[in-house]
Symmetry: C2
Subunit: 509 residues, 2 copies
């Protein structure tokens, strides 16, 4: 607490700069236009946006093309080679005299969701609440026809934070600067992807087909949450990711658990043993070689971690947990290691539908996060080898009768398409420093510099194909329920995000 | 195989007895009336029969009252004290000169089921198939308007086997004897229960309210499958049963698995560790004291097990399993031990709905089977103690913030209502011998005498309240998918069941 007080005193001593003036102009524009901004935003949010929902994805893309056309950004759809895959929306703006080009990235698709799990609202019918649901937030009606929007209000909707907030913040920052007459200091390019939540299987194709168009000195990615303390951050990398479907087998037909229980193998128990073998009680992955490839952090990165706000205890309190994985290491440290997470598992039924049966299969979906040095295919192979070592016959299909007769333990393992590796940009590059300075200029608190995001972004898809570097500047509140039901965005985070991106577009280079 | 040939030769040498003549009469009645029997049966099957579906349960009861009234069985509803609970249907028949009374029991309710999991048909729209689905059985239409029903055909419907088959076999056996003019050798009472699949929470009340009415020398229970070899059997007991809901907790809200994975505890992994701690790789329960109370089998019981057909290898082939729990012990032996089965577990989502989150909870439904000597409350207590020993704070409610702050590992454990203990009738009682002889008289194969059913029946609810013993005479095919989707009954099993119960009603005592 004392530390924060010190920071505030220090910041107030900074003289009024050009950036402070710009920030005032942007803020004034936003205050005047809040209703208009949120009307456009909620209209965008109301379009369902699962990547494989082709029809609706194209409605999103068309709406964003309209938004960009209204701003004079010369928008066009970048279609991948693969028919039916979601297009990216591209636009651009030339800044007179600028020698650098920034690409501003966000994605307009969202994670699949089960509408039944949302509390009182539908995923694609955005509503305003007076506070988070957990804090008793109530649904507000007709707020866009009144003045005085409380910045603590939240918009509940799929992709309110992840990542239509990014699209909205970027395009509104552009509006604010343009209509305030502030000069852009970089040429700007804009790209909004339509299948990031499906692991970006066609972003590579799109880049390959439009290489010259998509070159830039840096890709600035607006995605993910700010630091848990509420402080803004710049993130220099992201973990890679690959998902794996895992199924184990019992008898071919469901059996009465009385007549056959403790004779016929129970696949739920088999899966429990197998999953338990993968991590120890402290959450350390016990799969051979899991941590072997990790590229150690440099001095600047270690220093940035050491300087970051210590927030774990506060976070534990908020989340209602009193024990963490990782033998006491901080969250900020642990996200620099590869992980193995169970996204979900299922066997038979629970609750009112539960019956006294031995289920036929048990299934888990695993999520493997990777850091710099890991390779997603190699990591999946280690998982497979581990399952083999537990005595399983590993296959990629449902077992045949012959395979069932031959093997006592059978595991089906399928890595999902679209896995990719981690990426990390060096903190000492001049353009990295410039982005840090731009974001810092909008914040009274010392911003966080994070070597690696815990979440994943398809950064290597970009940096493998283009002469560029990537940095992520997130804007969402950390408690936005990203990827889950009841996803939401705090209004102040959208307002702050607009100022952040305006600073990037108009900052000194 | 040789052994069976020998049995057949031996049986053919038996002279034609009164029982053989009776069996011929019953068979002839059935052959003449197959269409009529199946029309009545499918009409009964078409009434949804989940115990808590009050309206439909009463429609079932009313239909059975009608069936019994048509047969002159003086039916009435026995209502439990608890309002809204399903009634039992009772009827009776006095046999001139009979000194013994048999109570014939079946249940008309069925297990809950998810219609989506049925293959091409609905649970309560009975259809005939030419063979089991697994053997390519096709749906047959209009079969009840044609002659020549193939006895290998199957009726697919919830409760086709479990246990409306029991209601139908008992009432049709009565019809067959009555219309053939065969004398009943016992006074008959009939009771059809309406919430056996909900663990019979009110059967005790019903017995307490109607004690004199429900006294009998033996309760003969028609429920469950015949031996896997297809041979008829008499079962002298059944395992007890209690279900337990178990939930473990992660953070209070779903978290992004990238930003928080390998720091915030994953409840699916916690549950995997906990479940894995309960059984070893051979399926032996590792909970302290689990097997301590088991009352050993007597000499007659051990002999009956030794004489039973050895069917495990054939069964493994059919079920597509090449490994069983229980360190190589036979199924027939293992069902004489208490078990712990996972009926189902769930956390987050799998398949297309899976997302990169850390779920907030993970839940399993456990099924504890008990044998003679076990007490269901004591066994649940052992489970709870085991969970505590794994470091968990055990509670019966969702944890409060205070409990979350105090305990790193929290498990919610709720034993479901209606748990009950195992029961076993001595094989050397005269009435036990008489029932064995009656059933044997209808079978060319040596019937199986089973000390304990693997499945559970609320036998102690009966024997604790009445001066009686219980025996179970099952009739369903063993591959009937009891309790699961695609439940079915093979027609020949219904035909055989009618003959079996006719022999019991007319056998020598």
């Amino acid at each position: 607490m004392l530390r924060y007080a010190f920071v505030v005193l220090f910041i107030t001593a900074i003289p009024v700069t050009l950036q402070n003036i710009t920030q005032q102009k942007v803020r004034s524009y936003r205050r005047t236009n809040e209703q208009k901004i949120l009307k456009e935003f909620t209209t965008l949010l109301a379009i369902p946006n699962i990547a494989r929902d082709t029809e609706n994805i194209r409605r999103n893309a068309a709406f964003i093309v309209d938004m960009m056309a209204q701003r004079g950004l010369n928008p066009r759809l970048l279609e991948p080679k693969t028919p039916g895959a979601p297009p990216a929306v591209y636009g651009e703006w030339k800044a007179p005299g600028a020698t650098r080009t920034l690409m501003l990235y966000a994605h307009y698709d969202g994670q699949p969701t089960d509408p039944k799990q949302w509390t009182g609202t539908e995923p694609w019918q955005p509503v305003f609440r007076s506070a988070p649901i957990e804090a008793g937030g109530q649904i507000l009606s007709g707020v866009l026809d009144k003045g005085d929007l409380n910045p603590e209000w939240r918009i509940y909707s799929r992709s309110a934070s992840d990542d239509k907030a990014g699209v909205m913040a970027i395009l509104t920052a552009f509006d604010a600067l343009k209509s305030s007459g502030v000069a852009f200091t970089s040429n700007l390019k804009f790209i909004f992807e339509g299948e990031e939540e499906a692991d970006s299987p066609h972003l590579g194709e799109i880049i390959d087909l439009n290489k010259q168009l998509l070159e830039a000195d840096a890709w600035i990615i607006c995605d993910g949450p700010v630091h848990q303390s509420g402080v803004k951050q710049v993130v220099f990398g992201a973990r890679g990711d690959v998902n794996v479907d895992l199924t184990v087998y019992g008898a071919k037909r469901p059996l009465h658990s009385g007549h056959y229980g403790n004779w016929s193998p129970n696949p739920a128990m088999i899966l429990a043993h197998l999953l338990a073998s993968m991590k120890d009680e402290n959450g350390r992955v016990t799969i051979d070689g899991w941590y072997d490839d990790v590229e150690p952090l440099g001095e600047l990165e270690r220093q940035a971690i050491a300087e970051s706000p210590k927030y774990d205890e506060e976070l534990k309190k908020q989340l209602g947990i009193s024990r963490t994985e990782g033998s006491g290491h901080l969250l900020m440290e642990l996200i620099n290691a590869p992980s193995l997470n169970i996204n979900g598992f299922s066997s038979g039924d629970v609750g009112a539908l539960a019956r006294n049966v031995i289920p036929t299969t048990a299934t888990a979906v695993l999520d493997l996060r990777l850091v710099k040095g890991n390779d997603h295919k190699r990591q999946v192979q280690r998982l497979i080898e581990h399952i083999r070592k537990q005595g399983f016959f590993v296959t990629d299909h449902d077992p045949s009768d012959g395979e069932r007769a031959q093997h006592g333990l059978i595991a089906r393992v399928n890595a999902r398409a679209g896995g990719y590796n981690a990426e990390r940009t060096r903190m000492d590059l001049p353009i990295a420093q410039a982005i840090v300075n731009a974001v810092q200029s909008t914040s009274a608190d010392k911003i966080v510099k994070m070597p690696t995001f815990g979440g994943s972004l398809p950064l290597s898809v970009i940096s493998d194909r283009l002469q560029t570097v990537t940095m992520t500047v997130p804007i969402a509140n950390y408690d936005n329920n990203q990827h889950a039901e009841n996803e939401n965005l705090r209004l102040q985070n959208l307002w702050d995000g607009i100022e952040t991106f305006a600073a990037i577009m108009s900052g000194k280079f």
